[in-house]
């Protein structure tokens, strides 16, 4: 059972941790192929002197059945920054990313597009200035966001998405995609679908590992990131590095589509929790 160490809560609000009970304390020999998840919820309500509107929601799915992909524990928080119109923080294992969205705002005449909004993605690494690698990732995120946003509803305006790396422990691009999606939802921008980012790595034995950490990424022979949309589970964006066969690519896409189900369910639960106070 993966320990919960390494996960820090940014704010003191309702936290719910969901643990699966497939692995008992002594360890089991054969994993059952059917999923039976026993949810144990711990609610700790901590009072804070200032009410703020951020809601923290975490989820652990530590399933080791061979048919289901394993994702590290992930958590997110919305509306935590006061200046941007929408903001979110997404944590996958130890990888943590902060996203802020501004828009629809004024745009410079040189950058305006007459019939749609101009989306600009800015990525800040943890140290140093943004370089070519960040520019490549910005383009991946921008293509995905433009495909899912209804930008024709805000012509001649600008949407700015700022992504900041807080800690990088593998699967960074998929963490960017997930936090971007939550931040765009938080800002209230009209979207035609949601998207989720999933990273797969193929190690030297040919095994497919989902959501690899930095050590696994380094030893892998191929690394692929897919952005999956929520309506039909199709691939919106793919970014790959390394060598792999066509069959392996298809296998990774199938695994990513299955993993994206969990991420979309997590989006739904966290948004539901966010609106639970006003219901």
């Amino acid at each position: 059972m993966k320990p919960l160490s390494g996960f820090r809560s940014y704010c003191l609000y309702l936290t719910i941790s969901v643990r699966s009970a497939i692995q008992t304390k002594e360890g089991t020999g054969v994993m059952p192929s059917s999923l039976s998840v026993q949810m144990t919820t711990q609610i700790s309500n901590v009072k804070s002197p200032r009410q703020s509107s951020s809601f923290l929601f975490t989820s652990t799915m530590d399933v080791c059945a061979s048919s289901s992909p394993t994702l590290r524990e992930f958590g997110c928080e919305q509306n935590l920054l006061s200046r941007p119109d929408g903001s979110s923080s997404f944590v996958q294992g130890d990888t943590s990313v902060l996203a802020g969205v501004y828009g629809p705002a004024e745009v410079k005449v040189s950058k305006e597009i007459y019939d749609r909004a101009t989306l600009e993605v800015v990525m800040q690494p943890k140290v140093g200035l943004p370089g070519v690698r960040e520019r490549a990732r910005e383009q991946c995120v921008r293509e995905t966001c433009e495909a899912s946003l209804l930008s024709t509803l805000h012509p001649r305006s600008s949407l700015t998405l700022v992504l900041q790396v807080v800690h990088d422990d593998g699967s960074l691009l998929s963490c960017f995609l997930n936090s971007a999606c939550m931040a765009l939802m938080d800002a209230g921008l009209p979207m035609s679908c949601l998207f989720a980012g999933v990273t797969c790595a193929i190690d030297t034995d040919g095994q497919v590992i989902t959501d690899p950490n930095a050590a696994q990424e380094k030893e892998s022979r191929a690394l692929m990131t897919f952005a999956i949309d929520s309506t039909e589970r199709r691939v919106m964006m793919s970014s790959t590095r390394g060598s792999f066969t066509v069959h392996e690519l298809q296998q990774c896409i199938a695994v990513s589509q299955k993993a994206s189900d969990k991420i979309f369910q997590f989006y739904r639960d966290s948004v539901r929790r966010r609106y639970s106070k006003t219901l």
Partner: protein, 261 residues
């Protein structure tokens, strides 16, 4: 004495179209929906016993061919007989026709003022759109003034336009204001709750102490009270009661009222 200078609560409904489909609502009213969820779709021709209904879709719902899709995350609301919309929390204002907003004059150019309303573009306000204004009798408006005005043109394709008179030519509470007082920004959801006809927040605030308040649908609120301290108290209370349940808000107001100077 509490003076609320605001118009009726107007929710801008974009009536997309009246279309005759047999509504099969997949989600219940009060559910939290996410972008991409299908709200309703056309049933096959075999079901003929249910009568076709007209549906009016408000903010957050869009028609996509035969389907109505959700495009913002929020709570599904319903008003009789056939009105559906998504209640979402947002901070950035998008101009809508007929909404009354607080604007800040940023420039005078030619015959119009440029007004900052917090949207993606600055709105224009003509000199003649004030009560009693003529070409010779210009209104006394300076750069930096606050104006309470209404949109007459506000769509995504054109520059938004404001006026400070109603259709009969009277000011009706609109125009320049704001000598003294404090202007601050809250979220759009809180503003809608304040302007609702039976607003509980407004009723709780009335019991505190007398003050003057102007609420704009673009999230800007202007407050003025007898002393600066009371003004700041009201401003802080409004900013903090965004995410409180009704009970928490009432306890907070009571605590402040008991301990206030």
């Amino acid at each position: 004495m509490l003076i609320i200078v605001s118009t009726w609560f107007v929710y801008l409904f974009v009536i997309l179209s009246y279309f005759y489909v047999i509504i099969h609502v997949v989600y219940k009213v009060g559910d939290v929906l996410l972008p991409g969820d299908v709200f309703s779709f056309q049933m096959p021709e075999s079901i003929t016993d249910s009568k076709p209904e007209k549906v009016v879709c408000g903010p957050g719902l869009r028609r996509n061919g035969d389907e109505v899709l959700v495009c913002k995350s929020g709570i599904l609301r319903h008003k009789q007989p056939n009105l559906y919309w998504i209640d979402s929390q947002q901070r950035r204002y998008v101009p809508g026709k007929g909404e009354s907003v607080i604007g800040i004059i940023t420039a005078k150019s030619g015959d119009i003022f440029k007004v900052d309303v917090g949207g993606s573009e600055q709105a224009s306000l003509s000199y003649l759109a004030f009560e009693g204004a003529t070409k010779r009798n210009r209104p006394n408006v300076q750069v930096g003034d606050l104006v309470y005005s209404q949109f007459i043109i506000a769509n995504k394709d054109m520059e938004p336009e404001l006026v400070c008179i109603d259709s009969c030519g009277r000011a009706n509470g609109m125009g320049v204001f704001g000598a003294g007082g404090l202007l601050f920004k809250v979220s759009l959801g809180l503003v809608r709750r304040l302007l609702a006809p039976q607003s509980e927040i407004a009723k709780d605030l009335e019991k505190m102490f007398p003050f003057e308040i102007v609420v704009g649908m673009n999230g800007r609120v202007w407050v003025k009270s007898k002393t600066i301290q009371q003004t700041l108290i009201v401003a802080n209370l409004l900013e903090s009661c965004e995410n409180m349940t009704a009970q928490q808000r009432q306890t907070l107001f009571r605590r402040v009222a008991d301990g206030s100077i």
